[in-house]
């Protein structure tokens, strides 16, 4: 039974990763399965020939398209994460401090959107943001603007989509942290002369760091690789890495390059994950009595 999670990880993570890793070093061919084998038995020469193609990775470094999409993806993910934190923290705080009965209602409302398909919810934003969409029509009707705003297919639309979709992933870990806080600590701070705002920054905020870190990673990591939201709502002149990846796989059918992109993306995301692991380890040691 103990081996079950490891078996799961092996079958559904380690093995696919190895396959993708292997493909990333292959040459692209037009015949099925789309890439050349790495190892081939040459009958005439009676020997095994290995063919590694590092050009797939060289492309990533040389073609400025890849670099700019990587950087753009990091920027979008970082800004979205900060926006989620700024929006999510007060919400998580309010929920954690509300009465137990209303607390469950609020949590339900946070989780409720998951009952609708993610794709549908992103599509719905098109209807809201487009030139003769709900938002523009409302603003025109109210006389706030004379001309429709260009909202759709902009960075703004991508941020709206990502923040809207990933906000629950920020709120839930923050809530579960804030809800556990010992409120007598705030009373102690107040007793010692700290005003409520000061007490928040000195006590509540530092103690909620594990929740902040967990929430930020849960938003940042999927946001970097996001391709549905930028494809549907984003700019056409600036792609995100997830969009490029899917275009290479399904459009250009260049599996080797697509695999190289996937491996590079994974390495890029490994850094924050490792940092998080180290942070958690430290927290665990600190809380051990």
């Amino acid at each position: 039974m103990v081996a079950a999670p490891y078996l799961w990880l092996f079958v559904f993570f380690a093995v696919p990763f190895a396959i993708v890793f292997k493909i990333s070093f292959s040459y692209m061919v037009t015949t099925q399965p789309g890439y050349a084998p790495l190892f081939e038995w040459i009958e005439e020469a009676q020997r095994l020939v290995a063919t590694f193609n590092v050009a797939n990775y060289q492309v990533l470094l040389q073609d400025s398209l890849y670099l700019s999409t990587f950087l753009y993806s990091l920027k979008v993910a970082a800004i979205s994460t900060v926006l989620c934190l700024l929006l999510g923290y007060p919400m998580a705080y309010a929920i954690a401090r509300s009465a137990p009965t209303t607390r469950n209602l609020f949590l339900m409302l946070i989780i409720l959107p998951f009952w609708t398909s993610f794709l549908l919810r992103v599509y719905a934003w098109i209807g809201l943001l487009k030139t003769n969409g709900v938002i523009n029509n409302a603003l025109l009707a109210l006389g706030v603007i004379d001309q429709p705003l260009v909202l759709l297919y902009t960075d703004f639309a991508v941020y709206v989509g990502i923040v809207y979709s990933y906000l629950p992933f920020m709120i839930l870990p923050l809530y579960s942290n804030l809800e556990k806080h010992d409120l007598t600590l705030l009373e102690a701070a107040s007793d010692l002369g700290a005003r409520p705002v000061k007490a928040f920054f000195k006590i509540t905020l530092p103690l909620s760091m594990p929740g902040i870190v967990a929430g930020c990673l849960l938003v940042f990591i999927p946001a970097v690789g996001e391709f549905v939201i930028p494809s549907l709502l984003g700019r056409t002149d600036q792609l995100m890495i997830g969009t490029v990846l899917s275009a290479q796989f399904f459009g250009a059918r260049n599996w080797p390059v697509a695999s190289a992109v996937a491996i590079a993306l994974l390495l890029l995301l490994l850094l924050p994950i490792l940092l998080f692991q180290r942070y958690q380890q430290r927290e665990l040691e600190a809380s051990r009595r």
Binding site: D182, T184, E187, D191
Partner: protein, 369 residues
């Protein structure tokens, strides 16, 4: 121990008719108290008696539904905790887990406009007083319970409050440590001249710490007095029963003179002669309370006369320093008697022996409520 300097002229803290309601529940019911500068005042009572609510109102975490709280003559109404000249030591200690011991103690000083070197000096000084100098860089979870208690004390005292509120200060410590800490607390209080208001449910803690005790029951203060007054002259059955153990007998006042009274107790099958007068209506129903250590026990067959009853030993609890006997009177009533174990190989009274119980006419307390 040096005599505590209590300024009986100066009521540093005045509580005037304070009531606190939570919905229909009256947590604190019209409490009035004056607490003198430099004393250790204990609010003693069982759980839910309102003592903690009263303390929280002094700290400013709750506001009274009615009544006033004056500290050094200033009305505290509408003054938030962070502006009150009081500090509190929490029952759970409420140490900041992410800060070192030194940072915890410095926190209060950092809220005032005090220069860093001055803060460091005072924190160091305070940590030396509570003997935690070498633990300054530790985090709270790296300390023992007793050490945490001292950090909490240091953190509350470093701001030099005139009034320190302590919520069950020794509650989380084990017995040996409690006794030790108890005396340390008293020494510290004398050294710094702070007025202490202590909340506790532990009568022993209250007796050893307090210069005066206020016994609380159902939101009301039922008696205020020195530990001796509370123990020797309880004013009600509740107080007599709550503080220490007591044998309580119902009786009828049959003789009421200014210098003495006689009470007929059916349960004892005898008359109790008490060598002081009481104020009660003739023939009134009263209660006679006698502390277990104030009863003499001798071997004997029959008991004649007042303040004297016969019975059989049914239970003995050997406590080391003393033994507790439960004696069944001929009428069926059980009486608790404590006898100090003075000799080591004494022929002590054992189970099922017939005994005679006697007490001095000055020993019983007559209670009318």
């Amino acid at each position: 121990m040096a005599e505590r300097v209590v300024d009986r002229q100066n009521q540093y803290l005045r509580i005037e008719g304070v009531t606190k309601r939570f919905g229909d529940f009256v947590a604190v019911d019209n409490v009035s108290l004056g607490i003198f500068k430099g004393e250790i005042f204990c609010l003693l009572g069982g759980s839910g008696c309102g003592k903690t609510t009263l303390l929280r109102m002094l700290a400013g975490f709750e506001s009274p539904t009615a009544g006033r709280i004056l500290i050094d003559g200033q009305d505290m109404a509408g003054i938030p905790p962070y502006e009150r000249p009081v500090n509190m030591m929490f029952q759970s200690y409420a140490l900041f887990p992410h800060m070192t011991v030194a940072a915890n103690v410095a926190f209060g000083l950092e809220q005032e406009r005090i220069a860093r070197p001055e803060i460091d000096r005072r924190v160091g000084e305070m940590l030396d007083i509570v003997k935690l100098g070498e633990f300054a860089k530790r985090k709270p979870h790296q300390l023992s319970g007793g050490q945490r208690q001292r950090v909490a004390l240091a953190r509350a005292l470093v701001k030099k409050p005139k009034l320190l509120l302590l919520d069950e200060p020794l509650g989380a410590l084990d017995k040996k440590l409690r006794e030790h800490t108890q005396f340390e607390l008293i020494n510290l209080q004398e050294q710094l001249g702070v007025t202490f208001v202590v909340v506790t449910h532990d009568q022993e803690e209250a007796m050893t710490l307090a210069s005066r005790i206020g016994v609380m029951n159902k939101g009301q203060i039922v008696q205020v007095g020195t530990p001796t007054e509370i123990y020797e002259f309880p004013n009600s059955r509740f107080v007599a029963d709550f503080i220490g153990s007591v044998n309580m007998f119902e009786g009828r006042l049959i003789e009421d003179e200014p210098g003495h009274v006689r009470i007929r107790c059916e349960e004892l099958d005898t008359t109790v002669f008490v060598s002081h007068g009481i104020s009660a209506a003739p023939d009134a129903r009263v209660f006679v309370a006698i502390r277990p250590e104030k009863i003499e026990m001798t071997r004997g067959q029959s008991a004649d006369g007042e303040n004297c009853v016969g019975g059989v030993v049914r239970e003995i609890a050997y406590m080391g320093d003393l033994s507790v006997y439960l004696v069944r009177l001929d009428g069926g009533r059980m009486v608790r008697v404590t006898i100090p174990n003075i000799e080591r190989h004494d022929e002590r009274i054992v189970w099922d022996e017939r005994v005679v119980l006697r007490w001095q006419p000055s020993s019983p307390v007559v209670l009318t409520q």
